[in-house]
């Protein structure tokens, strides 16, 4: 098992520590997870799967709570 994982965030390659959540990958990439209904950038907040602020598109699946998903090699993440 390697100690890093490679994935893409909005098409850009990113390497993160193994075990990192997708929310962490988005924070490292400097990307907000989603745009709120009034147009504000939002990022992970509660980090415990409660607030849904960190939702993004993971491997084509919309509205995924990225704080509850561990990064895997080849994962494609898109912000909402």
């Amino acid at each position: 098992m390697t100690d890093t994982v490679r994935l893409t965030v909005n098409g850009r390659a990113l390497t993160v520590p193994a075990g990192a959540t997708v929310a962490v990958a988005l924070a490292i990439a400097g990307a907000a997870c989603r745009t709120s209904v009034s147009g504000e950038p939002r990022a992970a907040f509660c980090a415990m799967g409660i607030c849904f602020e960190c939702r993004a598109i993971v491997d084509g699946g919309p509205h995924q709570r990225t704080c509850q998903i561990v990064c895997r090699d080849g994962m494609e993440v898109r912000t909402e």
Binding site: R42, F45, C46, A47
Partner: protein, 432 residues
């Protein structure tokens, strides 16, 4: 798919792990499920740090006990969203519906942080206190990042100590409770190991100013956080920072208990001496019965697990210790009671409902939760009011509405029934 177990434990934090182990060691077949990708709950999340304290020693002991027991089936990334029938829970795991049949169920659903809306709290870079710790445990690098830790509760110092050890520059810890409350609390725990634990955290955060009677009033920044303004009631000052870790102690997760029909009193699930709720075959342990921390959660979990397994005498033997720990829970509630000034934290333009971007100006016109929901969509987004509902419970004393399924957004396919498969194109969010 439907799976059957003697006992289903919902929540794999300390209370749930203790309940599952206690029941399985009585020969019962147990399912232990949790929304998170690994067991441990919030307090035992992530890899152990270099600093070996009582919390990490307990974690290793209990996780070992859990993992070596073949009678326990652990289901991770699994969340209960409905109660489709008697003795039956509907859950979703990896996008697939799993129904769980039980003879007894133990609810160990833990707590979440209480967040109070203030100007700028929606900026990226503002996290919960436990929230930022969870992010760092999940791999977020914070070396040389400037952090302010603020809010209320014993978690603040623990979070500050953890962040310092992971390389962050913690510029202040702000506790809204007064020195007077904190000193009284200190005196009440003086004869216990908890005082040493608190002193240990303070030692590990030496050099970082600790302000009692101090709270955040605004966060500032363009696209991300740049600074936070703090107040002690007479003076305000602004501290530059990259990250703000802010939570106002804890509120219990009681949605599933409510859906099962359990009685709640002042927000907490009512249980008898053996942790049984007023609903037959439904037990509850840990923070949902009262915010009391790690040791009480473990003690309640053991009583609940043993009682659910029918080992009544063994359960009764553990009651006195649990009751002593409950006295500490009562002290916590008094010490970290929120001050009046926090009622004016939200300003007219402050977003209260983060899901639907409903401002304080809009929501505070209404007289209750139901009217505000219907007229403004406040609390109608995917978090289902877990964040703004708890805040409004404090700010306006609005009581929560009745709980209806699904208690978490799930795919349409999972809603449809246990036998349906879940094709990806049907995976749409179900808003409440």
């Amino acid at each position: 798919m439907t799976r059957s177990f003697d006992i289903v434990v919902v929540g794999a934090g300390p209370a749930g792990i203790a309940a599952a182990c206690a029941a399985a060691e009585q020969g019962r077949r147990v399912a232990l499920l949790d929304d998170n990708p690994a067991p441990g709950g919030q307090i035992w999340r992530g890899p152990s740090t270099a600093h070996r304290d009582a919390v990490s020693r307990a974690k290793e002991r209990w996780l070992h006990r859990l993992q070596q027991n073949p009678a326990i089936t652990s289901l991770h990334g699994c969340r209960v969203f409905d109660v489709p029938g008697d003795g039956l829970l509907a859950a979703e795991q990896n996008g697939q519906r799993v129904d769980l049949r039980y003879s007894k169920v133990v609810l160990a659903t833990g707590a979440r942080e209480l967040f109070l809306p203030f100007p700028g709290w929606t900026l990226p870079g503002v996290y919960g206190a436990g929230g930022l710790q969870a992010m760092v445990k999940a791999g977020l690098p914070v070396r040389d990042q400037r952090v302010v830790v603020a809010g209320s509760g014993p978690l603040l110092l623990a979070v500050a100590a953890y962040l310092r050890e992971t390389g962050a520059r913690v510029s202040a810890v702000c506790e809204q409770a007064s020195w007077r409350s904190l000193l009284r609390f200190g005196a009440s725990i003086a004869h216990t190991s908890r005082l040493w634990q608190a002193a240990g955290y303070r030692w590990r955060t030496r050099g970082t100013p600790f302000h009692a009677g101090c709270w955040p009033v605004a966060a500032h920044g363009g696209k991300t956080l740049e600074s936070v303004t703090l107040s002690n009631g007479t003076r305000q000052w602004t501290v530059p920072c990259d990250l703000l870790a802010c939570g106002f102690h804890l509120v219990p997760n009681t949605e599933l208990a409510s859906l099962l029909g359990c009685t709640l009193q002042q927000g907490f699930v009512t249980v008898d001496a053996l942790q049984q709720t007023l609903i037959a075959n439904v037990f509850c342990a840990g923070e949902p019965t009262g915010i009391g921390g790690l040791e009480l959660s473990l003690a309640e979990g053991e009583v609940a697990g043993l009682a659910a397994a029918g080992a009544i005498r063994a359960a009764q033997a553990r009651i006195p210790r649990r009751d002593r720990l409950r006295a500490f829970a009562a002290q916590l509630a008094v010490t970290f009671a929120l001050r009046q000034e926090l009622h004016s934290l939200s300003k007219a333009d402050t977003i209260v409902c983060r899901c639907e971007d409903v401002t304080w100006r809009t929501v505070s016109q209404y007289t209750g939760w139901r009217a505000a929901k219907l007229q403004t969509r406040c609390g109608m987004g995917p978090c289902q009011g877990r964040i703004c509902g708890s805040a409004l419970n404090f700010l306006l004393e609005w009581s929560p509405d009745s709980v209806r399924p699904p208690i978490f957004p799930v795919s349409i396919a999972s809603l449809a029934g246990p036998t349906a498969s879940a094709p990806a194109e049907l995976s749409a969010i179900q808003e409440n």
